[in-house]
């Protein structure tokens, strides 16, 4: 029996610690701990709700669009504002490109090194690598010369003994299964993807002024103007440029990401039986196709809202956001209602109350509180959120393109849909979703162009911009499917200022600790029975945890601006 501690979990956003008990080469128990906390929602207390998006956005620089969008949706719901269609479509374009870029970065830069042995690539034959690459796709960068140059670059690295970011990896671990040529191909695409993500995200600069932290969100719409006769607004030239970049994104996903995913996965089909976890999947649904309030209706969403329970794909259950509540039984907070009762977001509290070991420490007291994350529950159930949840809900709901794409990938791997409930299923779902959404982004651009061509230039509904038009008290929530899963913001406005602001985040759903009943969170559950060949080199833990694409700055947000107890300022 061994206690394995991995802290920091790297190649994620933020600060995550995993402690696991390993018996006879398998994980028998696991604890997930978020180790950083800032208090951004506390900081929102008393501020203008029209500004909340730009504070909330700073929760995360990786998911740089998601909190801004969900915040404006929450305030719009509270005040009864529905933005013009152009603004909805611009938000969709920004979000769709965020998905494609974020998923590609996850696959190549955060997750790939769990499956790809960089050092093994040194043994590859560039000619054979080229043959392999050309056999799986028509991605153009596949010549022997190119692979030879990549190999030389790697060799010079290793010879100089300065591996930089690749130092101390688990190279040579028996769980690495790819042939040398597949490793070299993947390393080459790792480098290509660095350029791709940078160039593709120019979409955000065009529509948002910059990336990270786009600056054109607005309660009631967007602040990027549309005018075919102005050079300072979205015009025909801008739209054409967007089309070129979106098409390049689709090409990269079709020619590199999805073929690489299938090629790598084919060597790791044992990971379709590992990392299944909770078996409950939640999706709020996303991508409105018309000007609607998503908090009031899920009609017309491109990806459906729904709940799948117990891996049962025969039915999709309806979702009532008011059934969300959060526990703090194992989180470093205290509730006025006691330690073991969950609170729904509109009644939420957050009073930090650290009871963990004094740093520096070696081990957490997992019987007590052990994380800065809360434990969100839906109807008192632990659920998984993210790409797998979305694809399963859409698959079960009969979404035609999702069924086609899932069928294609599973067919290539010669496996059935039951394998989706796994570590590899999560990774595959993210690739499938990238293909789906890269395709959809071009259709949304078509819709935007058609709407502008019809003479609609509106990007903002300013009827309720003036706080003088607001009621004395208003409450609302915003729902969003972020790349990592279901996100919701909950706002209470009193006399034009924020009285309470709550955020329930995807990585909190997935990475949160146990609740009062001892129900594990999604990471903790998925890690059970994961094999660990060498407790000194727990590569397998990284595989399962990375399959969720953790985002801890998001997860360890803090809530409850209503807590006056937080307001004192202490600076040493």
């Amino acid at each position: 029996m061994a206690r394995v501690v991995v802290d920091p979990i790297t190649r994620i956003e933020g600060h995550l610690r995993i402690e696991a008990q390993v018996d006879a080469g398998k994980i028998t128990n696991a604890w997930s701990s978020g180790t950083m906390w800032r208090g951004i929602e506390t900081i929102l207390h008393g501020r203008d709700p029209r500004e909340a998006w730009y504070f909330a956005q700073r929760i995360c620089g990786v998911c740089t669009t998601v909190h801004a969008l969900t915040s404006v949706r929450a305030v719009e719901d509270a005040l009864g504002i529905i933005p013009p269609l152009n603004a909805i479509l611009i938000r969709n374009l920004i979000t769709l490109s965020q998905f494609v870029q974020d998923h590609a970065v996850h696959f190549y830069h955060l997750h790939a090194l769990d499956w790809v042995d960089i050092v093994s690539a040194l043994d590859a034959d560039p000619v054979a690598t080229s043959k392999l690459a050309q056999s799986i796709s028509d991605y153009p960068r596949s010549s022997p010369k190119l692979f030879s140059a990549v190999k030389d670059r790697l060799t010079s690295f290793v010879k100089a003994g300065r591996l930089g970011p690749f130092a101390n990896g688990y190279w040579g671990h028996p769980a690495y299964k790819l042939p040398a040529e597949a490793n070299l191909m993947a390393v080459s695409h790792y480098l290509d993807a660095l350029d791709f993500q940078r160039d593709y995200i120019r979409i955000h600069s065009i529509l948002g002024g910059k990336n990270p932290h786009l600056q054109t969100y607005l309660v009631g719409g967007m602040s990027v103007p549309i005018d075919p006769n102005s050079q300072a607004a979205i015009n025909a030239g801008t739209l054409a440029e967007l089309r070129v970049i979106l098409q390049k994104g689709l090409d990269f996903v079709t020619q590199a990401y999805v073929p690489d995913l299938i090629a790598i996965a084919s060597f790791y089909t044992d990971w379709t039986a590992i990392g299944g976890g909770l078996g409950n999947y939640l999706s709020f649904g996303e991508f409105p196709t018309a000007a609607t309030n998503l908090s009031k209706t899920d009609a017309g969403l491109f990806l459906p809202r729904g709940l799948v329970l117990g891996k049962d794909l025969s039915k999709v259950l309806p979702v009532d956001p008011l059934k969300v509540a959060e526990y703090i039984s194992h989180s470093w907070y205290s509730y006025t209602v006691g330690n073991d009762k969950p609170l729904p977001p509109f009644e939420g509290e957050t009073t930090p109350s650290y009871t963990g070991p004094k740093p520096p420490y070696d081990q957490l007291d997992v019987a007590s509180k052990y994380s800065w994350l809360k434990s969100p529950r839906y109807d008192d159930r632990a659920v998984e959120v993210g790409p797998l949840a979305r694809m399963l809900v859409a698959y079960a709901a009969g979404h035609p393109r999702v069924k086609e794409l899932v069928g294609y990938v599973l067919g290539q791997l010669k496996v059935g849909p039951e394998v989706l409930f796994s570590t590899l299923g999560r990774t595959a779902a993210r690739g499938i979703e990238s293909q789906l959404l890269a395709e959809q982004s071009l259709k949304v651009l078509d819709q935007l162009e058609a709407n502008i061509a019809g003479g609609d230039l509106r990007v903002h509904d300013g009827a309720k911009w003036d706080p003088g038009t607001w009621p004395a008290r208003a409450q609302g929530f915003g729902l969003h499917e972020a790349p990592r899963g279901s996100l919701s913001h909950w706002v209470t406005i009193q006399n034009t200022k924020i009285e309470a602001y709550q955020i329930v985040v995807p990585s909190t759903w997935n990475a949160g600790p146990r609740d009062a009943k001892g129900q594990r969170g999604a990471y903790e559950s998925a890690l059970l029975n994961t094999p660990v060949a060498d407790p000194e080199k727990p590569l397998e833990i990284l595989r399962t945890v990375h399959s969720f694409d953790p985002c801890m700055a998001c997860a360890a947000h803090i809530l409850d601006p209503r807590g006056n107890e937080l307001v004192e300022v202490t600076i040493a």
Binding site: V6, D7, P8, T10, R11, G14, H15, M36, W37, R38, G39, I40, I43, R58, C60, V105, L113, D152, R153, S156, K159, P165, F166, A167, G169, L191, L194, D195, R198, I201, R202, S205, I206, G209, K210, P212, H213, Q215, T216, L218, G221, P225, I226, S230, A232, A233, Y354, K358, P359, Y361, W372, L457, V459, H460, P538, A553, V569, T570, I571, A572
Partner: protein, 366 residues
Amino acid sequence: MATLLERLEANGISRRSFLTYCASLTTMLALPASLTPQIANALSKVDKPSIIWREFQDCAGNTESFLRSRNPGVADLILDLLSVDYHETIMAAAGRQAEAASDAAAKKGGYILVVEGSVPLKDDGVYCTIAGKTAKQHLEELSKGAAAIVNVGTCSSYGGIPAANPNPTGAVGVPSLVSNVPIVNLPGCPANADNITATFVHYLTFGSLPARDQLGRPLFAYGERIHDSCERRAHFDAGQFALAFGDEGHRKGWCLYKLGCKGPNTFNNCPAIRWNGGTSWPVGAGHGCVGCSEPEFWDAMGPLYQHLPNVSGFGVEATADQFGVALVGATALAFAAHGVAKYAQHRITAEPAAQPVAAGQPTEED
């Protein structure tokens, strides 16, 4: 070990292109063109300096920005020009092996310590721990042997959003905790990739940090006000203001001052270099500057959608040092007066966020 130039040549990039690229860096760094050969020489011979990049109370926004580097490209930067020996977001190693990589680099000394995110001090720093140690403990250990510290973003420079009122975790920036090590601050939310890159290139070329203002910001990037190099400045001078998002002025690219733009109080080079490879920048896209490279901007630069009440009327030639650090609350109200006067000339009657106007103050151009 192949130098960058050798590797570029192996990839079919000529020495001539390399020199062109070095010339653009020279311009970026606001250096005389005669220094281009020196930069080219340094970059083609460079012995990769060790980088330890630590994230504390951060959002990884500056890491993401760094990953958008273009000149040099991100892959050249993280693989060939620098030895990125520790960076949680991109490194292969995890857990104990990750910390061992940091320890090994620290033991050698002479590294550049890059810090992203603020450091919480309240309650003995329990609000941010990595490998069981607090951010403050890591910073104390790593600052000792650092040749220089580069603070990327406003959080590590000045405390940033975690330090915004009421600062629930007692967050501070690195300069509040470290002395005796040369420090450069690259504030911004996040810092622009081009400014991060240029700072590294400056260090590689000259072996020292670039000249800085009183707030620790390099003059090559933060030496001028947004307002003075803004493409919409002519509209400000002509009194042409967007008054509502989506109105005619907004669509035509008029000045965003009335919609809350903080460009007049902000020192940064966004209008000159723009973002994401020169694609656009916030004001260019249609939203006012939020002042994100100024200390305490979260509290000092609000409200977001009201125009600045108290901006002194200094000239184009002023730097942040001449201007002083007390940006908001400056005495003269002339700036507001100027805006209102021009506004009236254009027969626009509504003033959405009227501010008191002091009579008898000189206007900016007087």
